[in-house]
Amino acid sequence: MSFKSKTRSTAWGGQSMGAVLVQAAVLGLVLSGVYVLFQNTQANLQDRGIESGFAFLGHEAGLPIGDSLIEYDPTRSYGYAFLVGILNTLLVSAIAIILSTILGILIGVARVSSNWLLAKMAAIYVEALRNIPLLLTLIFVYTVVIGSLPHPRDPISPMDGVYLTKRGVFVPRPVVEDGFQIFLLATVIAAAMAASFWIWARNHKRTTGRSVPGFLGGLALFTAITTLAFFASGSPVGVEVPAYRGLNFAGGLTLKPEFVSLVTGLVLYTAAYIGENVRSGIASVHPGQIEAANALGVSSGIVTRLIMLPQALRVTIPATTNDYASLVKNSSLAVAIGFPDMVSIGGTIIGQNGQAIEIIAMWMAVYLTINLLISVAMNFLNSRVQIVER
C-alpha cells in the first residue's frame, strides 16, 4: 500500500474507475427499466383500445369553466381549457405569494415584538394555522365564512357599489374614458421626474454628505403631478357599478367565492410559515450589532433597513423559497372547493377522455416549471444578500 495510490486522481473528478463503472451500470438499469415501463404502457393502452397521445388537446372541450382570465366558452379546445386552468393556478399563486409575504413579515415582526400581547397573539396564530391541515382551513373559509354571507337579493354593502354576498364579492370596475392617454403620458413623465430626483438625491449625498429624502421626495413629486394631470385631463377613469339583476349581480368586477376562499386559505396558511422564517431571520442577527448601531446614535429606521434586514434576509430567503413552492403545489387543493385551477380542469379532462397519463405528465411539467422559476428567482435574490467573502 503506497501513499501515492491514495492521492492518485483520475479524469472523473477523483473517483476510481470501479465506482464510475458501477454508477454507469445503475444508470443503465434505471433507463432500461423506464424504457420497459414505457413500452409496456403503450402496448397495454393499445390492447384496450385507449387512445394515447396529445391529439385530444385539439378537440372541442365542451366543459363549462366558471372563472377565467381569458375569454373562454365551451366550444374551445381541451388544450385551451387546460391553459385557462394554468392561468388560474398562476393567478392564485401570484396573489397568494404577495399577500402571504406581507402578512408573514407582519407576523414575524410581531412575534419578536417587545409588546407581550402582540407577540403572544402572533405565536397563537402561527401555532394554530401550522397545525391545522390546509384543506380544513379552506373548507372552513369556504363553507362557514363565505357561506354565512347573505344572498345577492339582500347583500352586505359596506360602501356604495361594493357588495358582499355568498355568490361573491362585487366591486365597481374602473372603465377607461376619453383623455386617458394624456393622463397616461403625464404618469410616465411624473415617474421619470421622480426617478431623476431620487438619483440626484443619492449623488448629492455621495458628493456633499448631506442627506436629502430622495425616495419620499420622489414619491411626493409623482403623486402631486399625477393628481394634477388626472383632474386636468377631465378625470378620464369612470366606474361600472355592479347591479342586481334577476338571479345575481351583473357588471363590475366579481371575486368568486371559490377564488376568495382559496387565496384566503393559502395566505393564512403560508403566512404562518413565512412569519417563522422572518422571526428566525431577525433572531439570527447578533444583538451586539443593533446595540453598536444604537450607540452610534443612528436612527432606528436606518438600523432596521441597513443593519438588521440585510442580515436577517440571509436566513429568511432560502426557507421562504420552499414555502413559495409549497404554496404553488397546495393551490391544487382548489378541487375541494370548486375553483377551476389546472388540477380541477385537468381532472375533468381525464374524466371525459380517460387520458390520465398525458394529463398527469402535463401537471407535473407545469408545476415543475413554475417551481423551478420561483427557485431561480429566489436564488438570484439570495445571492444578492449573501455576505461577499474575500
Partner: protein, 336 residues
C-alpha cells in the same frame, strides 16, 4: 388525495401487463371475491348504511354478479370511486366491474378501454332549485349559478343546454357529489344539476325535502350501465346476462321468496332454463347451473331490487324502467 388515486390507477394501467385481457372469471374465482366499483355515496344506488353495508341498486348488481359467479352474494369487495376514477379503475383492472351510475356513451365505449354491459336504469339530467326561488323551468336559470360535479357527462350537458338555449349559466364545478350538494345547500348556487334520480336521492336526505323542487325539464338521456374492461368478452357476457337474468326473473314472476319453489316445481320452460332445472343455462357463459337461482335468492329480481332501493325510500316511479310489457324499456334478451 383523489389525484393520487387517479395517478395510481394510471400507473396500474402501465404496470399490469395485459393481465385483464382474458381470464377475469378465473381471477375472480381464485381470489374468491369480486372487486366492484361503486359511488362514494348516492342513496338508492350505492350508499353505505349505518352498519357500513353498501345498499342500493348499483350495490345489488355487484352482489348479483358475485352470487352468479361465486355462489355467494357476500363475496364482494366494494371500491368507492369518484367520477373521474370510475372508468379508469375498471380499464386498469383495479376492479373487475364498475356499477356506478355511469352513462353509456359512445366515446367511453369506443375509446376508453371499457365496455358497457346492460342498462340498469334509464335516467335523464334534471335540475333542483329551492322552492322559494319561484323558478319553474330550467330556462329561467339565465344569469344564475349551477352546482355540478366534475368528470361527468352532466357537466357537458349543462354547457350544451346553455348554448342551445342561448342563456348564461355560471357553473361551479366540484370534485365530488357531496361537495356539490353541500355548496347547493349553503346557497352557493341557484340550482343543482345531475341525473334526476340522484336529485331525488339527495332531496330525500335533506332535512326539509319539500323546500326543494325538481324541475320538470330533463335535458339529456342518461342510460346508466355497469361496465367492464374492454377485451374479455366472456366476462362481459357474464355481467350482461346476470342483469338480463334479473330482468327476466321479474317478467317470469320469480322472486327471492319463491325461487326455490319455482326451481323445483315450475312447469314453465323459460323458468326451468333460467333457474337451471332443465337446461344448464349458466354453462353458456362458463358459470354453474344455479347461477341465477343464487343471484335471485340473494337480491331478488329487478323489480324487487328497484322497489327496495328506489321506490320505497325515494318514492321514484318505475317510468321508463318498467318492464317492456308495462310500457317501460326493461327488456331481457331470451335466455335459451
Amino acid at each position: 388525495m383523489k389525484i393520487r388515486i387517479t395517478t395510481l390507477a394510471a400507473l396500474a394501467v402501465a404496470a399490469s401487463a395485459g393481465m385483464a385481457q382474458a381470464g377475469t372469471l378465473e381471477k375472480v374465482r381464485s381470489a374468491g371475491v369480486l372487486a366492484c366499483g361503486v359511488s362514494e355515496g348516492v342513496p338508492g344506488f350505492s350508499n353505505p348504511n349505518s352498519e357500513g353495508r353498501w345498499e342500493g341498486l348499483d350495490a345489488d348488481i355487484c352482489r348479483a354478479v358475485a352470487a352468479a359467479v361465486l355462489g355467494d352474494a357476500g363475496a364482494v369487495r366494494f371500491v368507492p370511486l369518484s367520477s373521474k376514477q370510475k372508468v379508469l379503475a375498471v380499464s386498469s383492472g383495479q376492479v373487475e366491474m364498475t356499477s356506478r351510475t355511469t352513462t353509456w356513451t359512445m366515446k367511453r365505449d369506443g375509446a376508453e378501454g371499457v365496455d358497457f354491459t346492460q342498462v340498469i336504469f334509464f335516467d335523464g339530467q334534471g335540475f333542483m332549485v329551492r322552492a322559494e326561488s319561484g323558478i319553474t323551468s330550467a330556462k329561467e336559470l339565465d344569469g344564475g349559478t349551477v352546482c355540478v360535479t366534475t368528470g361527468t357527462t352532466t357537466e357537458l350537458n349543462l354547457a350544451d343546454f346553455a348554448r342551445a338555449q342561448n342563456i348564461q349559466v355560471e357553473a361551479v364545478v366540484f370534485d365530488g357529489k357531496r361537495e356539490a350538494v353541500e355548496a347547493y345547500m349553503t346557497d352557493r348556487c341557484d340550482a343543482l344539476t345531475t341525473d334526476a334520480s340522484q336529485l331525488a336521492s339527495f332531496r330525500i336526505s335533506f332535512s326539509n325535502p319539500s323546500a326543494h323542487t325538481i324541475l320538470p325539464n330533463l335535458i339529456s338521456k342518461e342510460p346508466l350501465a355497469p361496465l367492464v374492461a374492454h377485451g374479455d368478452n366472456n366476462w362481459k357476457d357474464i355481467v350482461s346476462w346476470t342483469i338480463y337474468g334479473l330482468i327476466a326473473a321479474e317478467e317470469l314472476g320469480i322472486t327471492s321468496a319463491n325461487v326455490d319453489d319455482m326451481a323445483a316445481n315450475s312447469a314453465n320452460p323459460d323458468v326451468q332454463r333460467l333457474l337451471g332445472s332443465s337446461v344448464d343455462s349458466g354453462n353458456f357463459v362458463g358459470l354453474g347451473a344455479t347461477w341465477m337461482k343464487d343471484a335471485i335468492a340473494a337480491v331478488g329480481n329487478y323489480g324487487e331490487i328497484f322497489d327496495r332501493n328506489l321506490t320505497r325510500p325515494l318514492g321514484l316511479e318505475r317510468g321508463l324502467n318498467a318492464q317492456w310489457k308495462d310500457g317501460g324499456l326493461m327488456y331481457a334478451m331470451p335466455i335459451r
